[in-house]
Symmetry: D2
Subunit: 167 residues, 4 copies
Amino acid sequence: MKRQNTIRILITGGTIDKEYDPLTGELTFPKSHLSNMLNQVRCRASCVLEEVMLKDSLQMGSEDREEILKKCADCLENRIIITHGTDTMVETAQVLGKNVKRKTVVLVGAMIPYAFDASDALFNLGCAFSAVQALQPGVYITMNGKIFTWNNVRKNKESGEFEELTC
Amino acid sequence: MKRQNTIRILITGGTIDKEYDPLTGELTFPKSHLSNMLNQVRCRASCVLEEVMLKDSLQMGSEDREEILKKCADCLENRIIITHGTDTMVETAQVLGKNVKRKTVVLVGAMIPYAFDASDALFNLGCAFSAVQALQPGVYITMNGKIFTWNNVRKNKESGEFEELTC
Amino acid sequence: MKRQNTIRILITGGTIDKEYDPLTGELTFPKSHLSNMLNQVRCRASCVLEEVMLKDSLQMGSEDREEILKKCADCLENRIIITHGTDTMVETAQVLGKNVKRKTVVLVGAMIPYAFDASDALFNLGCAFSAVQALQPGVYITMNGKIFTWNNVRKNKESGEFEELTC
Amino acid sequence: MKRQNTIRILITGGTIDKEYDPLTGELTFPKSHLSNMLNQVRCRASCVLEEVMLKDSLQMGSEDREEILKKCADCLENRIIITHGTDTMVETAQVLGKNVKRKTVVLVGAMIPYAFDASDALFNLGCAFSAVQALQPGVYITMNGKIFTWNNVRKNKESGEFEELTC
């Protein structure tokens, strides 16, 4: 039995969840902020949060992407949001795009952590929420206010922005 | 000729744009924050901003809704986001829903102003951005992480949340 | 017996503690933020917080000022910070200045509530903390980065700034 | 001729001024935020800002401390605030404490950058402002809501808090 209206949120880390550690002066992942974020924005869509890992996406290997893929395939929900670091988000999207069938999966992250004043995290998360509810099955990325399909997107390293391969 | 990919953002006021006036201690509309918001979140979707009015939606009358309707009908774009106070957002959605054809219109607002710490403004705006790009023509509201059609939504005055008329 | 090093913080309301009520769209005082503020800034000075009232200072009458005066006179501490609305802060300072002896009392508030992005609350509170610890007995106001004595200060209603009567 | 009432603010870097670089994911010093901070808090005390360097204080050497000392000695003002990284703030305070005469110098920093939500920067800066105006000549540190003299303070590396050597 599928849960038609519930959104599963798979948390994998990335800048969106990074926090400043005052003792070390470094950015770390003490815990995910997703639950706080959804409270703040008064989200009433039915959601299940699952923390798969808390990693900088540059530290992710193929076994991590396999784990994320397995989570997408195995869960009861047809609508899945994955919070993910931006550096290898496209790579994970490709693994999912080639293998996930009959589910709507949206990858999303942030260029500035949620815990910082000028963050893009909440806006991007909002983009993911509507995308996962409105789009047909497939694998997508929502960044920079746009919706990308998994096989027509790259992160421009110089601008830090996501863009289509072909315009 | 229609501009297929550009989103027109009609600004009409509402809590999303309210600001604290330190001299009077009241919430006012000195100017819209939409442009700042889109800069902060690194939005790269093609947008045109138009300030139609800056009103508390409780102060809107039928002539205001007519003006908003006319803006929707007359503009070149097929995809329109309207920022709007939440108190009469459903009313305006009904006027538009009965009259706008062949365009995707999404109304959005906030329960807490953008200028406040715990605002839902950026998340809601993100929801509107994906909705306006992903949905078929029609009139919608994106609040509380959900997408509502204009004829199946109300604001629950007690909880301050939007909900379906029928579940 | 006096507690030499402990600071008593008398909370009386004012803009510093105002919050946005999403249901009514008005600024209200659901509770004081002082405890949260001191946690956020990692304050380790010995403090006792006491909520005397939560009022807009325009709503304060002479009986309120008498109550604040009594609290200052009766408490064990020699160092007292009073959070207070800015509109009648000078009036309260005058009542205290004429009557409180042998204690250092600092009144402080904010032009923008703590809960808003661009607030002056934490800075002003910091000014009050050092002032109450460094200054000789007397009654002072710390606003706009300055230290004022109770009998040489006014709030300029046009600029919203505190200034000396004589420069 | 000394400028009696003007405060010189010597900016040397430290966490207080760190910012998140979205392209590298690292904390950097693109520019000082001191001017923005003083604007936000509506500071009207007479100030002169001088950017001496923008360094992580762990990267400071004795030549940097000599430069800061020289700036303190040479400037016209008798009241000086130095923004500084917390890791070697005590070391710099000792160099200044042994050498600066007839001036009030206050070192201050932050455990969380100004640009982050839960920052202690503005509160600490407020503490420095009142301290520099209220205290007799000498060298001080204002952190954690307390005022320390240069020869009776250390940073507790485990708690991240400043404390007296002797209580």
